[in-house]
Symmetry: C2
Subunit: 179 residues, 2 copies
């Protein structure tokens, strides 16, 4: 049994789709997701401060869509391994309660004992970390797995997982039941 | 420079005094703190479920008194070491925002990067852990320091620190400035 630390934003919660939808609703402009590839998260939108504004908006994290396959694969992983949800939530104080409620809604099988909201992730002791950010994976002492997001498209330093199906294959899960 | 994980409840926040004050206000009974020694946290009060009720009450964590010396000594520690505040906040969802606001008020020098709200503390990677609970110190791989609280009075398994002055002496801090 391994201990696997799993990030929320862009790994379990589809913030990219959420940014695009929020942006269209707020500014009436449909941004092409292809233009976000390889540039820093939150940039690439005509209004420069729009995304930071969304991140500080009540309800933003609570209403994020779930990334396809994350529920089924994390449930299957949790049956063979010790999983911890590790989210850098401290930068956005509103997100604390919203993220906990979001997890309770979409991942009710995860115990509060296995949830960590932090700032820096350097304090996390685990065997694997699934995350979309170089800054979180860089100082990790275990095995880093880069979950693909537009902003990390050009990063070549890590073993990459593009989908939750690839995560299931990496951990050799043969039975993943639909939720 | 060492990394020091510091618990909040009963280490930075004086929950014992807070329990006694809340209890007196709610039930009109002054409980003698000496009767709480060596028995589980929250027990020893005539109304069995009172403390659990307080822990789930809005405002309880936000209004907790600060333990004497914690501000000065943690500030001095943070200038020589990497400190992380690690609180098992996830069991009480209301406490998340309240604990963050409490830290911002009483410990404004602590960055959000160095705050961790978790369930189980087994995931914490640090050199030292200052905590009042056996369950948190038991699986810690670094040096555990037991901060004295009534409920742990009989525990003899750890190096004990009774006050923040003793923590300062343990880490050989020679300049601790009053806040």
């Amino acid at each position: 049994m391994a201990r696997i630390a799993i990030d929320m934003d862009n790994v379990m919660a589809d913030l990219t789709t959420h940014y695009l939808n929020y942006y269209e609703a707020a500014y009436g402009v449909k941004v092409d997701p292809a233009t976000l590839k390889g540039i820093p998260e939150g940039s690439g939108f005509p209004e420069k401060d729009a995304i930071l504004g969304f991140l500080h908006s009540p309800g933003f994290f609570r209403t994020a869509p779930v990334i396809a396959g994350s529920q089924e694969v994390i449930k299957a992983l949790s049956e063979k391994h010790e999983i911890f949800i590790v989210s850098a939530a401290m930068e956005f104080p509103l997100s604390l309660a919203e993220k906990l409620a979001w997890l309770q809604e979409h991942f009710p099988f995860i115990s509060w004992r296995n949830i960590v909201f932090c700032g820096s992730k350097t304090i996390v002791d685990a065997d694997y970390m699934i995350d979309d950010h170089d800054k979180n994976l860089r100082y990790f002492k275990g095995v880093p797995l880069l979950f693909t997001a537009p902003h990390n498209a050009l990063l070549t330093d890590y073993k990459r997982v593009n989908t939750w199906q690839e995560v299931a294959a990496y951990f050799a899960l043969d039975t993943v039941t639909a939720i």
